[in-house]
């Protein structure tokens, strides 16, 4: 398998490897894939509550070089984006940027799934938290 230089670069120097506190209300966590399929991605975003902008993103990936590169690239792109802008990232953008061959397209799909799962987790936490805030707020209103 001949990889593009960009994939090799992300594999050798992955950006934003690590974990964010998953219980933080401003952190969204996506865990997608399965060990028996040969790839699992964990992608996390941390949203600034004042600005609504993702100011940190981290990943950990079990998978081939393309899977590592796809998730590493995704974290790079996520930083500085709003939640809605993040949801607009398409797997095809990743395919193009990394010049992934057809057999590796599923890696980019997994990265897109991971982004969506992380944002969805963040939104769920916000609604849950918002509801809590509302019920607390009501009596004084």
């Amino acid at each position: 398998m001949a990889y593009s230089n960009k994939v090799i670069d992300h594999y050798e120097n992955p950006r934003n490897v690590g974990s964010l506190p998953k219980d933080d209300v401003n952190v969204g966590t996506g865990l997608v894939g399965a060990p028996e399929c040969g790839d699992v991605m964990k992608l996390q975003v941390k949203v600034n509550p004042q600005t609504g902008i993702i100011d940190d993103a981290k990943f950990k990936t079990f998978g081939c070089g393309s899977a590592i590169a796809s998730s590493s690239l995704a974290t790079e792109w996520l930083k500085g984006k709003t939640v809605d802008e993040a949801l607009a990232i398409k797997n095809t953008d990743i395919v193009n940027e990394l010049s992934l061959p057809p057999v590796k397209i599923h890696c980019s799909v997994l990265a897109e799934d991971a982004i969506k799962a992380a944002i969805s987790d963040y939104k769920k936490k916000q609604t849950a938290d918002g509801k809590k805030a509302e019920t607390v707020a009501q009596p004084t209103a």
Binding site: A34, P35, G38, I68
Partner: protein, 421 residues
């Protein structure tokens, strides 16, 4: 003593040549002594071994017959029992299809195992389409078949048992002598794909009661494109329907002009293996054990796939938990090894051999096969072990599975989102 110390000191300072080849199960380089033996048969001694009426043909035929004898000697056979082919895939096809067709009136049942090479499995699958019945024996956790399963699978219509001597991925050696005895007792023909074993460990067709055996030159330091099938001539005399028709070469079992230089090389390679097997296998076993010990000392949660006791001396197959095989290969790109990971296979499926051991697909994805060989050095083994250790550690630091496992999560009971992957 002094000289030994000097040699060792010298070895340590010797620069390692990269990339390192540690994939000797895939293929082996041609031994220079083999190449030397072959050379004249490309140019000056170019005759067709089937030309009966001139010296060019006679010289070629003589060379082929010498090789036949060399090969027969390696496996304890008679030279007349060796049929040259284009390689072991053809030998497997000829043995299985040849027996199936020839003994069709006697029965239509064949027994094999799930961990066989595709050349055997796919041949059996084709025969199933033609009305034959095939039993694919499961293997135990150590990669060996159960003899009780084998006995239970045998029926009135069983005409052939085909079980490999040693597996190409995990190097596990099957109980061939026991299988041979059972087959003999039941009057069933026994074929073994001995490609990985012949020339590496003792393999004697009479001791093991083998009726048919597939062999390949390029797995034993001979050239690619030449193989052989051992076909027993006495007790019993095995008959085969040919799959290639033509000029009636190889006593009608395999028509086609003989690959004289290839066959000469095969013979020489077999002779060298026979002469050097004892010392070579001892040396490689020590190196393999050293590699295994070193990896186990340096890394936790690594698992040997298949039996360590019933195993080729030059094989090691290890799963590095929480790390995917292809990304591992990418990190050791100056070392040539193989992985059972789906991403490294043409079919995009993880190794069916490893899956058959029942260890779980995730461990198949994490596996590396090491094949040591004639030119593997201790320095190379050290380099490979150290490099692997650093890459595995780095990849585990970025593995969500490793993180979860360290948090105490049981990965096998987790709900994974597998849809669409």
């Amino acid at each position: 003593m002094e000289r030994e110390a000097f040699r060792r000191a010298n070895e340590n300072t010797m620069a390692i040549k990269l990339p390192i080849y540690m994939d000797y199960h895939a293929t082996t380089p041609v031994d220079p002594r083999v190449l030397e033996a072959m050379m004249p048969y490309f140019t000056t001694e170019f005759g067709n071994a089937a030309s009966r009426n001139h010296p060019f043909g006679w010289t070629a035929e003589e060379a082929v017959e010498k090789a036949r004898k060399q090969l027969a000697e390696l496996i304890g056979a008679n030279a007349k029992e060796i049929v040259f082919t284009s390689g072991a895939t053809e030998s497997d096809n000829l043995a299985i299809k040849g027996v199936a067709e020839m003994y069709r009136e006697k029965g239509n049942h064949i027994i094999t195992a799930v961990t066989e090479h595709k050349a055997v499995i796919d041949t059996c699958k084709r025969l199933e389409k033609e009305g034959y019945r095939v039993t694919y024996l499961a293997v135990q956790k150590d990669g060996r078949i159960s003899l009780d399963d084998l006995r239970a699978a045998i029926g009135d219509k069983t005409i052939l048992i085909t079980i490999m001597m040693a597996n190409n991925e995990i190097g596990v050696i099957q109980p061939i002598a026991e299988i041979g005895a059972i087959a003999k007792q039941k009057g069933i023909l026994f074929h073994t794909d001995a490609v990985q074993a012949a020339g590496k460990i003792p393999f004697n067709v009479n001791d093991l009661k083998v009726d048919l055996a597939s062999l390949s030159a390029h797995k034993m330091y001979g050239p690619k494109g030449v193989g052989a099938l051992y076909v027993r001539r006495r007790n019993p005399r095995v008959l085969l329907a040919p799959i290639i028709d033509g000029g009636g070469h190889e006593r009608g079992m395999r028509s086609g002009t003989l690959n004289v230089p290839g066959i000469v090389g095969f013979g020489k390679a077999a002779e060298l293996c026979r002469q050097e097997m004892a010392t070579e296998s001892e040396r490689l076993r020590n190196l393999r054990d050293y590699l295994n010990d070193k990896l186990h000392k340096q890394l936790d949660e690594i698992y040997i796939n298949g039996s360590i006791d019933h195993r080729l001396p030059h094989n090691l197959n290890i799963s590095f938990a929480y790390v995917e095989g292809e990304s591992l290969l990418m990190g050791i790109n100056d070392v040539a090894v193989s992985s059972g990971s789906a991403c490294t296979s043409a079919s995009l499926e993880p190794s069916y051999v490893l899956k058959a051991l029942g260890a779980g697909d995730d461990l198949a994805h994490s596996s590396i096969r090491f094949g040591l060989g004639r030119w593997t050095t201790k320095e190379e083994v050290d380099y490979v072990a150290d490099k692997l250790t650093s890459v595995v550690s780095r990849l585990r630091d970025m593995s969500p599975l490793y993180e979860l496992a360290k948090e105490g999560v049981d990965l096998s009971t987790m709900q994974w989102q597998t849809e669409g992957h």
